[in-house]
Symmetry: C2
Subunit: 401 residues, 2 copies
Amino acid sequence: MSLIVQKFGGSSVANAERVMNVAKIVTETYAKGNDVVVVVSAQGDTTDDLIAKAEEINPNGSKREKDMLLAAGEQISISLLAMAIEKLGYPAVSLLGWQAGFETTNIHTSARIKKVDPSRIRHELDKKRIVVVAGFQGLAKTDDITTLGRGGSDTSAVAIAAAMHADLCQIYTDVEGVYTADPRKVENARKLKEISYDEMLELATLGAQVLNNRSVEMAKKYNIELEVLSSMTRASGTIVKEKTKMEKMLISGVAKDTDVARISVTGIPNEPGLAFKIFSKLSAKDINVDIILQSIGHDGKKDISFTVPKSRGAEAAEALKDYIENFDGTEILVDESVAKISIVGAGMESHAGVATKMFEALYDAQVNIQMISTSEIKVSVLINENDADKAVRAIHAKFFD
Amino acid sequence: MSLIVQKFGGSSVANAERVMNVAKIVTETYAKGNDVVVVVSAQGDTTDDLIAKAEEINPNGSKREKDMLLAAGEQISISLLAMAIEKLGYPAVSLLGWQAGFETTNIHTSARIKKVDPSRIRHELDKKRIVVVAGFQGLAKTDDITTLGRGGSDTSAVAIAAAMHADLCQIYTDVEGVYTADPRKVENARKLKEISYDEMLELATLGAQVLNNRSVEMAKKYNIELEVLSSMTRASGTIVKEKTKMEKMLISGVAKDTDVARISVTGIPNEPGLAFKIFSKLSAKDINVDIILQSIGHDGKKDISFTVPKSRGAEAAEALKDYIENFDGTEILVDESVAKISIVGAGMESHAGVATKMFEALYDAQVNIQMISTSEIKVSVLINENDADKAVRAIHAKFFD
């Protein structure tokens, strides 16, 4: 008998039929003799409806009240799923975040899990019940309801798996697993049987959007084996774990991220502290900077370029305006029509020429590279957004065909 | 400075505009220097939507899960109201039933309040916040969410008022107060300035449906002054309290209840234990019996008639079928086209002839009386449902015109 945590996202429980489908998956797992803890998100449209209601009344309501409002979403989905499990003749009990023992920081709308006390969950499992837990939510020490922010339900699932030493944590989603590239865009994209935590982290950051990053970090930290799979097809998915079997692949995937804007600041006098002054202004606004490129310009002046999330581009430029007005001839340019293409793979650590192969693919496809960034297990390039799909296909073909 | 509890029902917070209207009432009370605790029900359509979702998945889901589901309704309305108050520039905090200290029995869907620990509410009032509390819900000792059943939010409001020794508990509803008769049906119906707890209890039981009975019982027990008033018109309402000023009125109101069925069992042999045998079968099914009439029939046989809620009529007859099959010539008749008309008034205790005056009004209007029942402060008659409105108008005219 194993303890299995299964997580289902908002689209997996979007309507009555899908809730029943999830109940079938869960009860089949239970019927095999496993203890099952299910973590669910709010039904897709519920969250949207709740946000619309709040916007109509007060678009600037406090974050505490937004958390109170949104947490109602999972309360609805957990009780519906529990009733669906009861309908199939199995015992179920739904638990809210606080009932399931989620203690968080009190940073409303983006709280962090401080600890999970699984005693109530264990108590219910001992009674042979299927336990349905509200993802995404917890309770601050002040007894206020908090939510974990984007992708929080993945993190909730992994946190329970870690706290209870679960044998497996299955993340059901609307794709069948982790692919070597986006299967909707690249015909030959392959589903990976396994991927390491580090590779998954790079892929998540790079826009593959299969798993929330915090959840992978937590899985790595507590060595929880994850499986990413589809609630629709029931095919076996992709296992995420520490060490993967050698699949003799140089890279595990090609990812595209179009949520990127490039900011270029040109013609700044070459004086010490330039990077510090620029990036401290951005971090003061909580704007994350990704790829950075600094170059000597003409006449002893510097150019500096960097990428930020597309939605923060204008704000980033605005934040630097005061600073650059100190200088003559300095300009800020914002280019939102860019995309970041990355290859990820633990294999590249020990193989020379992986980056070269990527660049060659781009050259063959006549794609111009604007910026380059590398880490031990990834290579990213910034290119024109219009070339993005072509670039992904060219790189994927180079490595996988 | 006073402590005022204000309760708003589902129709008072049905949409964004009405939520803003409630926020205005609440903040005006606060701006006068009062401490304000607001108790709200779920938005009218939210509850219906949630029930529909559950029905689609499993009409027979456990009561525990139904409570979990329905409690999300107030969670939505309290956070929206708190945001509306914030929008008007006032500090607010919403609290769920358990956060507001409601401990209940664990009888799901119809839990009773065991106690209210108002320490969190007091803490928030001390911070000068308007406290918005979810009505209708609480927490059992097992840490499971419970709901209080029909009219539960009224009871929540009175329970807070009692626990905190509030100066006034205002129940905002969609009528302007308690009337001598239904103002939609009786042109000359008058709004009462005051009414006693006992009179209000009789009126509530008798279908006036202005206030939930449990809430009036609790108000009487803890001597909490209630005011029933409209959230729409802002007119002053009706005060419910222990002793009312003498208004020189014999009766305080005429009420109509059409949710009644009359069951007649005729021709039962006249033997001991008849009433016991019949009514024990009904109470085993949890069917409430109201007016009872027993008479000697012909040939030493008995007839017995009684009223039950209309929805339980068929079930009540079914429950008695086995018993009456023991006898020859015994019949069960169910008449659903009846109405109960009642007059209520503390004044009738000390005035003879009140009942006679009522019967005279009915005779003048040519309304046939089927059954009669009396208590110290009320007289009820059962008549044909088609005569109900005519009867109310005739009685009202007799006493008030």
